[in-house]
């Protein structure tokens, strides 16, 4: 790499900007050794020696404070731990602020929505017993169940890349839900049922579409989507929210596969959303059926060959739980 173009999205309200725009900055190996530099090193070099009006957040530069999340070539990353060499494409690196949050200036966004959602899940331990004199003992196996979520650095990468938040402001989002999971799975907490009840409501665990973006973008080991799935499991085990659309979807999905060895996609929406929904949408469904776009609802269930094998696998998995 002799030179790299950093294509940076700029937005400066003080300069009268109404819309964000891109500005290119060129760095060469004479400026800094590009092969050994992080994207943060590059941004700092630009800010310090080329254009000090550029604004970005940073602090620890060792991937623990969570300040420097921004989009690099479209994906949200902590730039302090992202090597330029790993993201340069045809000599260009594109840098933009996080999504799903309003821009304050350049690469700095307003994270109020992030903190509000975090606050909404009551992100603190609520034991039901009085504090003992020493520590509450905790089995290391229990610790392992929430250890990963407890490493969240609240950088916002997952929230920026969340495809549900893109269309639904009411969704609690991956970071807050992962934080909630950390308390639901911590046996020192005394509010497990109340938490699960609340999380099973609108904007909660059943609104995730499982696109996996949050798992991809998380710079630590939180895996928010997996945490959400764990919350769903815990809720269903407790018999909470079993009549929500999401829960019915999961139940029918399992039922269909176990019984017939295959998912019946025609019946799934009716089971998940209910007959009322199906009838209300007949106006759309009928023409689609007539034109062959979707198949009519089933009269009988189609069963694959050797469906018993699927049932046997399911049974074994159930027993292993």
């Amino acid at each position: 790499m002799e030179q790299v173009i950093f294509r940076i999205q700029r937005f400066n309200p003080d300069a009268g900007d109404k819309e964000p725009h891109f500005q290119d900055y060129v760095l060469t190996d004479d400026d800094l050794p590009l092969n050994e530099s992080t994207v943060l090193d590059a941004l700092n070099h630009i800010k310090w020696y080329q254009d000090d009006t550029l604004a970005h957040r940073m602090s620890c530069r060792s991937a623990i404070c969570g300040s420097c999340a921004m989009r690099v070539n479209g994906h949200t990353k902590l730039v302090c731990r992202t090597q330029v060499s790993s993201v340069v494409r045809d000599g260009v690196v594109t840098i933009q602020p996080m999504r799903n949050m309003p821009i304050i200036k350049d690469l700095v966004v307003d994270m109020k929505m992030f903190w509000d959602k975090m606050q909404a899940v009551e992100p603190y331990l609520q034991p039901s017993d009085p504090d003992p004199e020493k520590e509450r003992r905790q089995d290391p196996a229990v610790f392992k169940q929430y250890e990963f979520e407890a490493t969240c650095i609240m950088c916002g990468c997952c929230v920026s890349d969340c495809t549900v938040l893109e269309v639904d402001d009411a969704f609690l989002g991956p970071a807050a839900l992962a934080k909630a999971k950390r308390f639901v799975y911590d046996d020192r907490d005394g509010k497990k049922r109340e938490r699960l009840q609340k999380l099973s409501g609108p904007g909660g665990i059943w609104d995730c579409v499982r696109c996996n973006e949050c798992v991809q973008s998380c710079p630590v080991v939180v895996r928010p989507m997996d945490a959400i799935i764990k919350l769903r499991e815990a809720a269903l085990r407790e018999g909470i929210g079993t009549e929500t659309v999401g829960a019915r979807h999961v139940k029918f999905f399992t039922e269909s596969v176990v019984k017939t060895g295959v998912l019946d996609e025609r019946e799934l929406p009716m089971k998940a959303m209910g007959m009322g929904w199906a009838l209300a949408n007949m106006g759309t469904a009928l023409p689609a059926i007539l034109k062959g776009k979707i198949k009519p609802p089933p009269l009988g269930r189609h069963k694959v060959e050797k469906a018993e094998d699927v049932q046997r696998i399911y049974k074994e998995l159930e027993e292993k739980k």
Binding site: N12, Y49, T53, S62, C65, S67, P123, R136, A150
Partner: protein, 619 residues
């Protein structure tokens, strides 16, 4: 113009712990921080937090038996009746089998090369267990022993395995446990996030709040308070190779100094032995606690020469000097022989994954090496500021040489303060503890002060004048000096001439350079004249702070003609035994640096010694 009972500057462990103490008392408290609280640098601490819980036995970890020496046998001698150490008879060394606050206390005093104020260290060691249990009750994600108690491991200079840890993310676990409590009390604790503090409101020895600059809007404002607590963190950013965050620019320290408050023991800067080569990114001492080796360019375990019994588990100042000597004497690694290696392989892959997951990831990410397969280049990196704003054991800021004259309504806690828990050298895992303890103490003292009927001080009419002038001087400047270039010169000079080893000649050159940079700083100009998130302006303000306190570091180091703890002068160092030459007769005292028009005026104050008689510090 907002008004609160208590305003706290800084939202790390010290600041948030203080806030919770004030909140608990039902008072109105605000936290001001230039970064969002969860970004505070306490979160970067890795290895652990010390407390003599005695969850893991000394023998269990195959550690040598613990010894306490020089202990005073006179039971009547307490913090209130300090004795002169020269007449103090110390009990001969004796062995103890279990960990205890007493042993912790002794380890702190010895580790700090006896420059420790023993009353402060006593409080720290004795309050530690209950404050750690409090973290646990708040949900802190500590690693556990098989029986469910908090896990503990060894750390340099501690004679028992007393580092409570959360893998290698202990600071993060503690910071977030505190932040969770702050969120729980969100209605009672007002947070001013991304506000820079520019000045202290101080008149006739009474503090009435602070002057702040809102980064988001560019507005200058005053936050009035009956009590003000500084918890602004350390000053490692004045050095080019540092483990510290960009935010660790010693703002509180500099602002106190500009307001006529002296700075104590600033020359004592801890260099961490294992920062990544050139980058300074921290690789926890826990690596050595878990059994990693230090190797020189010839792949020798060089600690054999310097601390044959403790080896890699020696205290930080000793290990950092050993590394520096290996490099100075041409036994470093790499083409320029300017680093040594940290070898993780003896720990074993399984234990690394379990106990040190973050650092192995850092090594992969930042230097593209596989720590399971090859040793990692490291070097001493500026890490911790032992010095700071002088406070007594209640966290009250004291400005004279007898610890008597207080600034009314002004407190400091954590790394920016100097209660002198750590003396000349801090032991690992004592920083999170000290931040917690001093935060708790400062909060408690502020509550006591306000409940005792403290009034809200009148606001001086010109409260924002100096801050306003400071902003204008930068915004309206067309001198053409580049802020970053000046900062780079300062940091490189400090690293090279005021680093692990110092000497008179280099310190004098360093001081001259700082004076020159202070003059050139008046010509620093920036192109961003905007109000919204003007980080160029912030950079310039922070550089101004660093230029002020760096001078105190160097002047203090020049005057201290001895080597003690983290301050090593080549003229006072035995290159045969590799030991500091300490001069208790002349320098067993705290440095105070006061700001005068032409530079720093030094004064000294006595060290509080009443329990452990200073002895030669050997490991």
């Amino acid at each position: 113009m907002p008004t609160h009972d208590v305003v706290i500057v800084g939202a790390g462990l010290a600041g948030m712990r203080a806030a919770l103490e004030v909140c608990k008392a039902g008072l109105d408290v605000a936290i001001v921080s230039k970064v969002h609280p969860s970004r505070s640098h306490s979160g970067a601490a890795q290895g652990g937090i010390a407390a003599a819980l005695d969850n893991v036995g000394i023998a269990e970890r195959n550690m040598p038996p613990a010894k306490i020496s020089g202990e005073n046998v006179d039971e009547k001698v307490t913090a209130d009746t300090p004795v002169d150490w020269r007449t103090m008879e110390g009990k001969p060394a004796y062995e103890v089998k279990n960990d205890s606050p007493l042993l912790h206390w002794f380890d702190i005093c010895k580790g700090g090369d006896y420059l420790v104020d023993q009353d402060a260290a006593e409080l720290c060691a004795f309050l530690a267990p209950q404050l750690i249990y409090e973290y646990e009750h708040w949900g802190c994600a500590f690693s556990r022993l098989p029986d469910g108690r908090i896990a503990q491991r060894e750390f340099g200079g501690h004679q028992a395995p007393r580092a409570c840890y959360a893998a290698d993310r202990t600071g993060h676990a503690c910071l977030h446990a505190l932040f969770e409590q702050v969120m729980k009390n969100a209605k009672k604790i007002k947070i001013y996030s991304e506000f820079l503090m520019l000045d202290l409101i101080l008149r006739d020895g009474v503090c009435g709040g602070i002057v702040v600059y809102d980064l988001r809007t560019g507005q200058l404002d005053v936050i009035r308070a009956k009590a003000t607590i500084f918890a602004t963190g350390g000053y490692g950013r004045a050095f080019s190779v540092t483990t510290n965050a960009f935010a660790s620019t010693g703002d509180g320290v500099a602002i106190a100094y500009r307001n006529g408050i002296p700075l104590e023991d600033m020359e004592f800067v801890q260099f961490h032995p294992t920062g990544l080569y050139r980058l300074g990114i921290l690789l926890s001492e826990a690596a050595r606690g878990e059994g990693a080796y230090l190797l020189n360019g010839k792949m020798e375990r060089f600690m054999q020469r310097y601390a044959p019994t403790k080896m890699e588990k020696g205290p930080r100042d000793i290990v950092a000097r050993a590394e520096q000597i290996e490099i100075m004497e041409g036994r470093g690694g790499g083409p320029n022989k300017d680093y040594v290696y940290l070898d993780f392989r003896p720990i074993g892959e399984k234990r690394i994954r379990e106990a040190l997951p973050q650092i192995s990831e850092l090594v992969r990410r930042f230097v593209n090496l596989d720590p399971f397969k090859e040793p990692v280049p490291i070097q001493p990196s500026a890490h911790y500021s032992m010095g700071g704003i002088p406070v007594n054991i209640k966290g009250e800021v004291v400005v004279d040489t007898q610890n008597e004259q207080k600034i009314i309504g002004f407190y400091a806690a954590g790394e920016c303060s100097c209660m002198s828990v750590h003396g000349a050298n801090r032991l690992g895992v004592n920083s999170l503890l000290e931040a917690t303890v001093t935060g708790y103490l400062a909060g408690k003292s502020a509550v006591e002060f306000i409940q005792g009927g403290a009034p809200l001080p009148d606001l001086p009419p010109d409260a924002t004048a100096r801050a306003d002038a400071e902003l204008k001087a930068i915004l309206n400047n067309d001198g053409g000096e580049n802020c970053a270039a000046l900062a780079k010169e300062l940091k490189e000079t400090m690293m090279e001439k005021c680093g692990v080893f110092r000497d008179e000649d280099n310190l004098k050159k360093c001081l001259a350079k700082i004076k020159d940079l202070q003059v050139r700083f008046r010509r620093v100009s920036i192109s961003d004249k905007g109000k919204t998130f003007n980080t160029a302006l912030q950079d310039a303000i922070e550089l101004g702070h660093m230029l002020d306190f760096s001078e105190v570091i160097v002047v203090g180091a020049l005057a201290r003609k001895e080597s003690r703890g983290g301050h090593a002068r080549l003229e006072y160092f035995d290159m045969k035994t590799y030991e500091n030459i300490r001069d208790d007769e002349n320098f067993l005292k705290h440095t105070l640096g006061y700001k005068e028009d032409d530079g720093v005026r030094l004064a000294y104050k006595p060290v509080k010694i009443y329990k452990f008689k200073p002895e030669a510090r050997k490991y």
